[in-house]
């Protein structure tokens, strides 16, 4: 079995119709995606927590230093830029919608 087939098998649905609860069925779909993301965020958070604890155990990290950390100017600028880029990526669909409207105007 190749990797893609395995992924398909893992994500297979149970037989029977998937119920919907909201008036607009798209909301059911969206919620299921959002909730899967919430789970993955928890997974990432737990992994980060593990990394911090392991580093602290090995005296490579003082966990209090994370909360006390304040970026210097260059680091803050880099991080700020990352946030901007991240937001533009997430909100891509809004930008595209407005771009299209502008094109129509012309």
């Amino acid at each position: 079995m190749n990797e893609l087939d395995l992924q398909k098998l893992i994500n297979a649905a149970a037989s029977g119709k998937r119920p919907h609860f909201f008036g607009d069925h798209d909301v059911d779909r969206l919620l299921s995606i959002v909730w899967a993301m919430a789970a993955e965020l928890a997974v990432t958070r737990e992994r980060l927590d593990t990394v911090e604890r392991l580093l602290a155990e090995r005296a490579l990290l003082d966990r209090a230093a994370i909360d006390a950390y304040r970026p210097d100017g260059a680091a803050a600028a880099e991080r700020g830029q990352w946030q901007i880029e991240y937001l533009s990526r997430l909100l891509r669909v809004l930008q595209q919608e407005v771009d299209a409207l502008r094109r129509e105007e012309r």
Partner: protein, 397 residues
């Protein structure tokens, strides 16, 4: 200011009891189960209660304004609640959680299904006489029509020869869905049953014990431990469950326990050949016709002086319509098609129809017995179907 009460977190999945068939889990696979366990706990301890508030404050008043009376039964409550935004969100989250539990279990287990299968083969070969598979046994239609509790492929799908992945998935995910209430080895019901038997019949030594729909034997093994001299038999129609269950038992030093592929409606055993016959969380997965056949078989198989006991969620009789409505959720949205019918069936009457004497039929409650460090049902809000407390109906022969 009121003192803030804290909700204890669910035990982490890393606390699940290890055995010879345990899959190897990565950090993130465990973290996924940890999220799901706490999500389930939060839903059943915090979120579910909002449904009653929404019902009382806006759903019922709206219904009354339209119809002049309260909703008459759980069906009308469901019709009314289905339009409520809170109930919609709760339901959609609950359904998503069920699906994610399957995804998490399958992504853990299917990637190592060959290795698990090989390990099962090896362990099973060491005690080959007690694994009794029979590929002429058909999956009954009430089982094959719908994947039970949204488990893709149900208990039966075999993706490779001698596959055990369905059982491995069932086993791995259950600790998360039951948030520790069934114990580290998911055997709280079986341990509760063994304790009930030893208390109601002190000193009694059943010679032969039968577990109907034993699955992978979670609740079969405690009876084998409690009665080391007895011949202990579990029957199930699902080969993956039996293969995995048998190898798990062998790994625990319980290779004497017989895992036999058979349909509980027609069992290949002699009349009056068992002293104790029981089932745990099995009857609600069968049809009404099957239930009658199963009780008929118990009548035939139970030896004079023997006793039977069946653990289920409590029947609906005596419950408020609203509680019935909440408990009925699984029937409609979690592929439990026989859930409502079973909980409306008066099991004592059914046993009487099969010839058990009224005076010998009884109903009782069984609590899960779990390790000290695991949460107890008394301290946890019951999650309508997944708590560690069961209604039980039985009869002496």
């Amino acid at each position: 200011m009121t003192r803030a009460t804290r909700l204890d977190a669910a035990p982490p999945w890393s606390e699940v009891g290890e055995h010879a068939m345990s899959p190897t889990a990565t950090h993130d696979e465990i973290a996924r189960f940890n999220f799901l366990a706490n999500f389930n706990k939060y839903m059943s301890n915090v979120v579910v209660a909002g449904n009653a508030v929404a019902y009382e404050r806006r759903v019922a008043p709206h219904w009354r304004a339209q119809h002049g009376v309260d909703p008459a039964n759980r069906r009308e409550i469901r019709a009314a609640m289905s339009a409520d935004a809170y109930y919609q969100l709760w339901s959609a989250l609950r359904r998503s959680g069920m699906e994610m539990r399957q995804q998490a279990g399958r992504s853990l287990v299917l990637r190592q299904m060959q290795a698990l299968r090989d390990r099962a083969r090896e362990l099973n070969a060491a005690c080959a006489a007690t694994l009794r598979l029979d590929n002429s046994i058909a999956i009954p239609p009430y089982q094959s029509e719908l994947d039970n509790h949204c488990m893709p492929g149900s208990y039966y799908a075999e993706y490779i020869d001698d596959d055990v992945s369905a059982a491995a998935n069932y086993d791995a995910g259950m600790f998360a869905t039951t948030t520790g209430l069934f114990g580290r080895y998911l055997d709280g019901a079986g341990r509760g049953t063994a304790q009930w038997l030893s208390r109601s019949r002190p000193g009694w030594q059943p010679r032969r014990i039968l577990d109907l729909g034993c699955g992978l034997g979670h609740n079969l093994l405690p009876l084998a431990r409690a009665y080391p001299e007895a011949e202990v038999v579990g029957v199930d129609v699902a080969a993956p469950m039996l293969r995995y269950g048998h190898s798990r038992a062998v790994g625990m030093g319980l290779g004497r326990v017989i895992f036999q592929q058979a349909n509980a409606e027609r069992l290949p055993f002699e009349d009056a050949s068992f002293d104790f016959i029981y089932s745990t969380m099995f009857l609600h997965e069968t049809s009404h016709a099957a239930l009658r056949n199963i009780f008929g078989e118990v009548r035939r198989l139970l030896a004079p002086g023997g006793v039977q006991l069946h653990l289920e969620q409590p029947p609906y009789r005596g419950m408020s319509d609203f509680e019935q409505f909440l408990r009925d959720w699984d029937c409609h949205y979690n592929n439990e098609p026989f859930w409502s019918a079973l909980h409306e069936t008066h099991l004592p009457t059914l046993l009487a129809e099969k010839g058990f004497a009224q005076a010998d039929i009884f109903e009782t409650e069984i609590h899960a017995i779990v390790e000290d460090e695991m949460p107890k049902v008394a301290t946890a809000v019951e999650d309508f179907g997944r708590g560690g407390l069961w209604y039980a109906c039985g009869a002496a022969a």
